[in-house]
């Protein structure tokens, strides 16, 4: 993710009070905090990359149907009246999920690395202890991500929030996510050019959905679909040979650049192999319509489970 430069006003002067002087070391006391991220990263057209102050800004929320949603999906599908099951109900975009009522399914406090922990009494946010991005040891979403857009973001080694993949920094006490960021946020992702994920991406999901990330060593069959385990080099899995952005894998060792190879026994299944992070047109934020995935089809589950 490139360091943001250019016209300050494009981002910082669009809300009253944002450019006022504040105390050193303290976060700005912005108004409409819950909408600040959303406003820069939203678009009223179907384009999913927009130009703001000379910067290319990834659009995570479109108010009209997006064309070529980015890797994380698009909150359009949960912001409209499509139902809560298609995306994360992020504050500022849509209201609280009426079924989960802000409690992440599968939440396990011991799996949440945040000192503060997720608070179901409060809404899901873009960042902070009740969000995904930034430092999750800080509750305030702005404070948790403060400075990252202007900080040096290379190498992407997870050492700081800014140097974490897509500012997914976990906490100040834990390493952030590593990966290779596609310069177009996968808008034109292909087998050869795409985000590259490391297994660390799962830890972001685990923070709130820990019960789904079963790392216990089991000798028998899986109880929940595993993540963080290598794609086996046997049976039908061997038919998955070329990277498919509909079922991406996490690399054991990140390559120098993205590639189309699938390394069995090394590349892992991850949460994002099936789900997108923000929202998708499909229930459970899946990359495909699970209701229609059939043993006679080719997409969806069949990308890995081709023999079925």
């Amino acid at each position: 993710m490139a360091i943001v430069g250019g016209d300050c006003d494009a981002c910082h002067n669009i809300f009253p009070g944002m450019m006022e002087k504040t105390h050193t070391g303290k976060a700005f006391q912005y108004v409409l905090k819950n909408e600040f991220c959303v406003n820069c990263h939203s678009n009223t057209t179907s384009d999913t990359i927009k130009i703001l102050g000379g910067n290319r800004v990834p659009v995570v929320h479109s108010t009209v149907p997006p064309i070529n949603p980015l890797a994380g999906g698009n909150f359009f599908y949960v912001a409209k009246d499509f139902g809560d099951r298609k995306g994360h109900n992020v504050d500022g975009i849509t209201s609280m999920d009426m079924k989960f009522r802000n409690l992440p399914p599968g939440y396990s406090r011991k799996s949440d690395p945040s000192y503060i922990g997720y608070d179901p009494q409060k809404n899901l946010m873009c960042a902070g202890s009740n969000g995904c991005h930034g430092d999750r040891n800080i509750e305030d979403p702005f404070a948790s991500i403060m400075g990252t857009h202007h900080a040096l973001d290379k190498p992407l080694d997870g050492s700081t929030i800014a140097r974490s993949y897509r500012f997914l920094g976990n906490t100040s006490a834990t390493k952030g996510v590593t990966g290779i960021e596609d310069s177009g946020w996968n808008r034109k992702g292909s087998a050869a050019n795409h985000n590259e994920y490391s297994k660390s991406i799962d830890l972001i999901c685990t923070g709130c959905h820990g019960d789904y990330h079963n790392t216990e060593k089991k000798t028998g069959a899986w109880f929940r679909h595993p993540v963080g385990v290598p794609v086996p080099s046997r049976g039908d899995y061997l038919n998955y040979t070329s990277y498919n952005t509909d079922a991406p894998v996490a690399r054991e060792t990140l390559p120098a650049a993205s590639g189309s190879d699938i390394n069995h026994d090394r590349d892992s299944v991850m949460c994002l192999s099936c789900h997108v992070a923000h929202a998708s047109p499909y229930e459970s934020m899946l990359r495909w319509d699970y209701d229609k995935v059939s043993t006679e089809g080719r997409g969806g589950c069949n990308i890995c489970h081709s023999g079925k």
């Binding site: 409690l103 000798t219 109880f223 049976g235 099936c274 209701d291 059939s294 043993t295 079925k308």
Partner: protein
């Protein structure tokens, strides 16, 4: 083109289209390989709308991410009247149901299931269906330790607390060298099973690892003398692929195969009296010889006392000197309305009553006189 010819073309095309459409809509089930939507059988995270779901009071999460484990698919409605449930493109045999005259080839666990006026003498007490039987029936009668089974050895002991499962080391289906019942069945439902040769679990008769045979497409519902399961037998005891060997893996003393009880427990073919009723013995091996024996009276395949064949095809109608007696000639595999999981009421089987063609007397024809 003349109108009449065009009309004929149109009618032909329409009929073809109708037949094709009907064919496409029918559940395809020539073999048992699972087809259709993943969601019909699997739940990825055991979570629905944020809640953990239960299936007929069974709580998960369930292995292999199944919806309710084995019984979630094969015991969907124990008090219901469907012996085969169509789900998506699959036809799923129900091992427990309350359909009249609908018991499938393996029988019906309804007779032994807790909650349905069970009689534990009438079936195998499988975990999830019935409680474990008290001693001595908590251990398979005739159990032998560490017998040779397809893929390795059977259990070196049967712990008294270990209840029978559907599959795995302490079950019948799947690879019995693997203790975990779902691990033992892993992948079997998705394997190409067009050829049943026992080479893998998926390619084994009814997923009974190592067993060969021919599977009746309706699990013997409305089976006929010329259209039935084809059971594999072997008079020479040179293989482990017979249906009776599968039974002998747990009830070893009851099978004459040298890997199991052998002649010392069961007796010799041809030249001795039996100690126990034999299985995997053809009529050629009966004491005194086949010619002139009562077994010559059993000439047409009888679903009440089926026989096995060396190379079963499932459409045999003739019973002759080479037909093979098996465990399933008398018993069901799962449960039946009768004690000892028999196919008939043994207490009413009576010699000299002229009651031919029933029970024991299907084979022992002269004893009916």
């Amino acid at each position: 083109m003349p109108f009449r010819k065009m009309k004929r073309y149109f009618i032909n095309f329409f009929l073809f289209f109708c037949f094709f459409a009907i064919y496409c809509l029918l559940p395809t089930d020539v073999n048992a390989k699972a087809k259709g939507r993943c969601k019909d059988c699997h739940s990825m995270h055991y979570s629905k709308e944020g809640s953990e779901v239960t299936y007929a009071s069974r709580q998960g999460p369930f292995p292999s991410m199944t919806i309710g484990g084995c019984l979630g698919c094969h015991g969907q409605n124990p008090s219901g009247a469907q012996n085969i449930i169509v789900q998506g493109r699959m036809r799923i045999p129900q091992i427990i149901h309350a359909m009249g005259n609908g018991d499938l080839a393996g029988g019906n666990y309804y007779y032994v299931a807790d909650g349905y006026n069970p009689d534990y003498s009438k079936g195998h007490n499988v975990r999830g269906i019935s409680l474990q039987e008290p001693p001595p029936m908590n251990i398979p009668p005739g159990f032998l330790e560490s017998v040779t089974i397809p893929g390795g050895s059977g259990p070196s002991s049967w712990p008294s607390f270990r209840q029978l499962a559907c599959a795995g080391t302490y079950g019948c289906h799947g690879n019995r060298t693997i203790e975990d019942e779902f691990g033992a069945m892993h992948g079997a439902h998705h394997e190409d099973d067009s050829a049943i040769d026992g080479s893998t679990v998926g390619k084994s008769y009814r997923f009974l690892f190592g067993i060969a045979g021919k599977e009746h497409k309706d699990w013997e519902y409305l089976a006929a003398a010329d259209n039935h399961n084809g059971y594999k037998g072997d008079q020479t005891h040179a293989s482990m692929s017979t249906i009776s060997y599968l039974c002998g893996e747990c009830h070893g003393k009851f099978h004459p195969h040298p890997n199991l009880g052998g002649s010392s427990e069961v007796g010799h073919a041809y030249n001795s009296l039996w100690r126990r009723h034999p299985s995997d013995i053809s009529f050629a091996g009966v004491h005194g010889g086949y010619i002139g024996s009562e077994y010559q009276g059993y000439v047409q395949y009888n679903l009440e006392s089926p026989v096995a064949y060396q190379n079963p095809a499932g459409n045999e109608t003739a019973v002759d000197v080479d037909s093979i007696i098996m465990c399933l000639s008398c018993h069901r595999a799962h449960a039946s309305p009768y004690p000892d999981i028999l196919r008939w009421d043994y207490s009413k089987a009576e010699a000299g009553g002229g009651d031919t063609g029933k029970g024991c007397l299907v084979c022992h024809t002269k004893k009916s006189q």
